[in-house]
Symmetry: C2
């Protein structure tokens, strides 16, 4: 599989990628061990791609934009992979459709690879699978990886945390009608795109000015601690675009290229990836610890009533936490005999 992945023909690569990603998404312990071996083997062949996160609410024209962008990039000699993070996909079948009719020209192109969101599990699990899939795409030589997401829960944060650049697509309403932007999302944006600008050019221009000024005002435009414009730092931009008419895609890519060049020169691209890798490791550790905690017999027995006591104001939250931690570390995991387990340092609480 690794050999086909790295050196196969495009068709062999696509089959190997699909197989590899399916393996990564498996929950069987033996598959998981195989997957870890595969990941570590392909790691030296990863990291060369540019990782671009794209977010926007349904209706903003995300698919049309990504298809236009993908075909533009292939025209420039790139190979483009499109992945998705959609934590709703396990419940509803997903807001980001898995079927390939969504990007009909891009999906059939031999230099494009499109994969729907992994389904099942919480956002952390979905994000981890997508990060791993991204490494598979990079090892297979895809040099632009686009990770798209829809505004569900904290999925934008997850995508911003796995990409080199995070772009937010926005509709061109303006003034009092301006569609309110989801709380917290603008502080993630490296680039804001007013899509469908052709529908109302005046509104798009006003929206562009308003968002630019709001970003500056709320400290989201460059570093909050300085009022000076530092040329070595990226200041988030707001641009207009019409994906349907294919207008503005080149300007978009110019902004992305400017960002990439600047971030490479000032060392922030590498620093961001290191920060992401460290945070990803700790996120998986925290998630594994909490999972083991939630499955522990003594915890499962006590958690409902302690939670209820905390919510009803009969018990202080920190005392309930100490009681549950004590059960976790000192009671047997399966209700059998008491056996030593990782010791709890009481001072740490």
């Amino acid at each position: 599989m690794l050999d086909y992945l790295l050196h196969g023909t495009p068709a062999q690569q696509r089959r190997a990628m699909a197989k590899a990603i399916t393996l990564l998404e498996s929950t069987r312990p033996d598959h998981r061990r195989e997957a870890d071996a595969l990941l570590n083997a392909l790691l030296p062949h990863t990291g060369q791609a540019f990782r671009l996160g794209i977010s926007g609410v349904p209706g903003v024209g995300k698919s049309t934009f990504i298809e236009a962008l993908g075909l533009y990039l292939i025209g420039q000699g790139h190979r483009v992979a499109v992945l998705a993070v959609d934590p709703s996909s396990s419940v509803s079948g997903g807001s980001i459709l898995g079927d390939k009719t969504r990007m009909e020209h891009l999906s059939v192109h031999e230099h494009a690879y499109i994969r729907p969101s992994p389904s099942g599990g919480n956002l952390g699990g979905v994000a981890a699978k997508t990060r791993e899939a991204m490494l598979v795409c990079e090892a297979a030589g895809y040099d632009i990886v686009i990770v798209e997401t829809v505004g569900v829960g904290q999925s934008e944060t997850a995508v911003a945390d796995m990409t080199d650049m995070f772009c937010v697509l926005q509709l061109p309403n303006a003034g009092d009608d301006l569609q309110a932007i989801k709380k917290g999302i603008m502080e993630l944006a490296d680039l804001v795109v007013i899509n469908k600008a052709d529908l109302d050019p005046d509104a798009a221009t006003r929206a562009q000015a308003q968002i630019t000024s709001a970003l500056r005002l709320l400290g989201l435009h460059g570093r909050p601690e300085t009022a000076h414009h530092d040329e070595t730092l990226w200041h988030p931009r707001v641009i207009q675009l019409s994906a349907l008419q294919g207008r503005g895609v080149d300007a978009f890519w110019q902004a992305v290229s400017d960002f990439r060049r600047l971030q490479q020169a000032n060392g922030r691209l590498a620093a961001r990836r290191q920060r992401q890798a460290r945070a990803w490791m700790w996120e998986r550790i925290d998630s594994g610890l909490r999972e083991a905690f939630a499955h522990h017999a003594a915890v499962r027995e006590r958690l409902p009533q302690l939670t209820e006591a905390v919510l009803a104001g009969r018990m202080v939250a920190s005392a309930a936490a100490r009681s549950l931690l004590s059960a976790f570390f000192h009671a047997p995991p399966m209700g059998g005999d008491a056996t030593p387990s990782p010791s709890l340092n009481d001072r740490s609480l």
Copy 2:
């Protein structure tokens, strides 16, 4: 102690509060058990106060404002406690000074109680101690608890997460000179106060208009998903004030009272406290799990080299996490014999 705390004279109460809070801040295991017993005993006497969070950078006039507000509230028959969350206090002695000369009139008033930030430990620990101290103040009959913080790290989020209402103080610069606001802080604000408005009334008025419009535009002004103004929901306000001249304190308190009445009527006050209590419990659990993890012998042995391998791109972060979790759950905590410990559900990773 509990009796003096609940039923003593103001002087007896203050001594009992100081003793109780010192006990809560102790790291000795026997003190911690005593403290938990005390907390659970006083819990039925808590929760009646209004919890007000106040944040602002150094120089914005936070102390002058809190002193003016405190004296105003005491004049209205309230009893006022002032606590602080300052995670830098263990390193530098703190940006929020512990000495009482800072609020000289308020600190000597018998209906006021001022306590500096607990020092030492990480932000989660500092915040947990302050939450517990808040309960002590409430049990002693303080019906307004003010928790102040300075913009260090995530301390604003911690304070917003333990209070009923979160206010941000801001200086009245405007236009291009407008001081950039710290990233992410505006989305926490229920009320923004332009302090020192007397210095430049025109600038203050422009700043008020600009921040109001930026809040609305970025979805921070009411619910992001609706463009309608819903009268049952609070929409963050921006007001002007001059704490030094004592102007605007009544208008500030009017806004706080409007907020409190609305949040009580629509059920969001109670819901926010429940959400906070649940999050606080889980934050303490996560922190305790991570602390035990970091102190585990097998983890300590492997963590440096695995972290380095992840940062250098030689190992996938999720694989490193799985390897460390496996060491934590399957290796003995102290390097002794292998003994069963909480079982790891591999599928959960």
